[in-house]
């Protein structure tokens, strides 16, 4: 009997030992032994089937082919779950060697947590590359230590005003340039039984990122927003911000949005607009890629692109788009030696002049001085590509707010769309941001 116990006990111990042995082995991911000389991991969100995702995945495959001595373990994670996945591995201190990041608070946290290291040496090695980025592109990844941590491979422009040319023509309307014209156009379309603006706000960032950020900046001006984010002499309960929320409420009260906008997702809204059910849609540059993948050439030619109308009484500039440098690749602070060399090379290959051109020609915006061939891209993209060179950029709300405050304004805008009170929304946003700044 005793033998029994002892042998089973031993067996269990062995099992546990085997398990823990395994764990310590796998957490050491940059295991340089093996058939390849060095192995690096890269995580990104180019998981879809759109042209840009395929282009970037192709570049990673090409890198692997060109460097047989390096083993590249790439993982493509769908966009919707990407932030969560990265935050979870960051919490477990198991970040991959190279990973895609977004500008703003997402990257700030990695910097503050000492989880990333600068790529400044890479930029110094290729000065002509560094100097070809558009003004301000690299600033987004420059931190207080004077080092640059990433080079953007995308531009995010989140608030284009797309419009259906035919519907505007049929109703003898001009694309609105000012808020008053905007409200008039909305009324006319409502009278004709056409949805004025399509929006899919089920995932609640949409109204904030595409519409409200642009409106609010026109009302408050950028400086006020930056101060309010820092809680430095400005607060989200200031009358000026209540006024900005009021403009959004005007849209809701004028029935600018289709019924049940909070229950359908962004893609469904894009389809709804592309099918000609709605006259306008305020959405980001990603809409171009998804429409290009699903709509016909004719449909794309029928869509025009502009900016959110000016608000003449506001403190902010007109002719701006919310956005700026988009994602870039970060280098984990744990990657050292040969793996670091390989990882830097991979980052360069994915963001150098050639890569930027390939990305731009796959119908997506970049922050790099590059000429594109109009034949290679779709007409809607080319129109937008020209437009973004004439506008100025203003901050996107949720890229600057803390995560909790971003959630507060997202939910708050849904509340306003359901008839909620603007001051209560402002108060919740202020509480969330003040709390985040205190920490």
């Amino acid at each position: 009997m005793r033998k029994w116990f002892v042998s089973i006990g031993l067996l269990l111990l062995l099992m546990l030992a085997a398990c823990s042995g395994d764990e310590s082995g796998s957490s050491d991911s940059d295991d340089t032994e093996g058939e390849h000389g060095v192995s690096i991991s890269i995580w990104h969100n180019f998981a879809g089937n759109d042209l840009r995702a395929r282009t970037v995945r192709g570049m990673i495959d090409q890198f692997q082919k060109d460097h047989p001595e390096i083993k590249v373990e790439a993982q493509a994670i769908p966009v919707d779950g990407y932030r969560q996945r990265i935050s979870t591995v960051a919490a477990a201190d198991e970040l991959p060697d190279v990973f895609l990041t977004y500008t703003g608070s997402f990257t700030d946290e990695f910097y503050e947590g000492d989880l990333i290291q600068p790529i400044t040496p890479l930029l110094e090695k290729h000065p002509e590359w560094r100097d070809s980025f558009l003004p301000g592109a690299l600033d987004a990844f420059e931190y207080s230590d004077g080092e640059i941590y990433s080079a953007p491979v995308a531009m995010s422009a989140t608030s284009f005003l797309y419009y259906n040319k035919q519907l505007f023509k049929e109703n003898n309307l001009e694309v609105p340039k000012t808020w008053d014209e905007f409200m008039q156009v909305i009324d006319v379309f409502n009278e004709k039984g056409i949805t004025p603006i399509a929006i899919g706000n089920k995932a609640p960032w949409v109204a904030q990122s595409t519409t409200f950020g642009a409106i609010a900046d026109r009302v408050t001006g950028t400086e006020w927003f930056i101060d309010a984010v820092a809680q430095d002499g400005a607060s989200f309960t200031d009358p000026i911000f209540i006024e900005a929320l009021g403009y959004f409420k005007q849209l809701v009260d004028a029935n600018a949005y289709q019924d049940g906008a909070n229950a359908i997702d962004n893609t469904q809204a894009e389809q709804y607009f592309a099918q000609g059910n709605a006259a306008m849609m305020i959405n980001g540059s990603w809409t171009i890629s998804s429409l290009a993948a699903s709509a016909s050439e004719e449909t794309l030619q029928n869509i025009g692109v502009s900016v959110v109308p000016a608000i003449p009484d506001g403190k902010g500039r007109a002719n701006t788009i919310t956005g700026g440098p988009g994602g870039g690749f970060l280098l984990s602070s744990k990657t050292e030696g040969d793996a670091k060399e390989a990882a830097l090379e991979l980052i360069y290959v994915l963001s150098n002049a050639e890569a930027q051109k390939a990305i731009a020609e796959s119908n997506s915006m970049v922050m790099y001085d590059v000429e594109i061939d109009p034949e290679k891209v779709n007409p809607l993209f080319y129109e937008a590509f020209k437009l973004v060179r004439e506008v100025e950029y203003v901050p996107v709300y949720d890229l600057h707010l803390s995560a909790a405050a971003g959630e507060a304004i997202n939910t708050g805008l849904q509340e306003i769309m359901l008839g909620g009170d603007v001051e209560a929304v402002a108060k919740k946003l202020q509480q969330a941001q003040a709390r985040a700044v205190d920490e």
Binding site: W4, L12, S87, A91, F110, G260, I264, T411, L418
Partner: protein, 296 residues
């Protein structure tokens, strides 16, 4: 005596691996999670100890109570929807003709579909512009009844409860059919001789014989609906404006969208406490029923 001890020892030894795994992956994490609830932690960087603040905030947060209320709606819809419907269907489908087997499979089908697919399908059924419900209502002239089912906070909780009911009728149906088939046929004959027929027989013979099975189904229902997450997460994500927030989506959003891991842990500990309370209450109710049953 010796042999009894031996058997017990053997039992303990054979249960040990399972027990170890269970405590390692279930019991210990519960306590860890309760412990994490005492920290403010964004997932990156250092966690700071803040005592009971997270738990107090959970209790003070109206959204938590709304989530609890919504969860109770799901529990209610499941207990008073799934169980009676499954029972009624079981009574109708107890025989095994081809037609009845077909209907049985049709009812069981949603159970084998991924819950994400169920959520997506019902999302389209409820779609405010193209959804089949609104199209049907318009087609029969009831245009005034059309509404954004998932976006209107006054009804969307009931709208999301329907797919959940639909999704899980299958297993209860199977359990009830098995219970029905276990009722000895002598009882049927005896009831017939005593003149109990149809409804009378159902009330006085069939249901009492199935009572224990029904109670088990109710407990399964309660624990299942407290865990409800996937269909609602896919259909509404807890929105709009947190109107369909459930305990699980509330926990998920706080942990993984707002990055407050400590607060999320505190919420999940509260979920465990709420679940335990509900299970204890239902157990007590069951025991009382049991004793009453014996008294007769």
């Amino acid at each position: 005596m010796q042999s009894v001890l031996k058997v017990k020892g053997m039992l303990a030894v054979t249960l040990l691996p399972a027990l170890l795994l269970y405590s390692f992956f279930v019991i210990i994490p519960i306590f860890w999670s309760a412990y994490y609830g005492f920290f403010e932690w964004s997932g990156v960087g250092d966690a700071s100890f803040i005592g009971w603040a997270n738990y107090l905030e959970v209790i003070k947060d109206p959204i938590f109570w709304r989530a609890l209320k919504n969860n109770m709606i799901i529990v209610g819809a499941s207990v008073f929807g799934q169980v009676p419907i499954a029972l009624g269907l079981a009574l109708m489908l107890r025989k095994s003709s081809l037609f009845q087997r077909f209907v049985r499979s049709a009812i069981f089908l949603p159970m084998v579909i991924s819950t994400v697919v169920v959520g997506l399908i019902w999302g389209y059924i409820y779609h405010p512009q193209f959804g089949i419900i609104n199209s049907l209502l318009t087609a029969v002239g009831l245009e005034s009844w059309t509404r954004p089912w998932l976006a209107d906070p006054s009804i969307n909780m009931y709208a999301v409860a329907i797919p959940i009911i639909w999704n899980y009728i299958g297993p209860y149906l199977i359990i009830f059919i098995a219970a029905l088939q276990n009722i000895p046929s002598e009882l049927d004959d005896a009831a017939k001789i005593d003149g109990a027929d149809g409804f009378k027989k159902l009330i006085h013979v069939t249901l009492p014989m199935m009572w224990k099975t029904i109670m088990v189904a109710v407990v399964l229902c309660i624990s299942g609906s407290l865990k409800a997450f996937d269909q609602v997460f896919v259909m509404t994500g807890g929105g709009p404006a947190q109107s369909t927030e459930l305990l699980a989506t509330y926990m998920y959003n706080n942990t993984f969208m707002v990055y407050r891991y400590g607060y999320g842990s505190a919420v999940s500990t509260m979920i465990i406490i709420v679940s335990l309370i509900l299970i204890v209450i239902s157990q007590l109710l069951m025991k009382r029923r049991d004793q009453e049953g014996r008294g007769i």
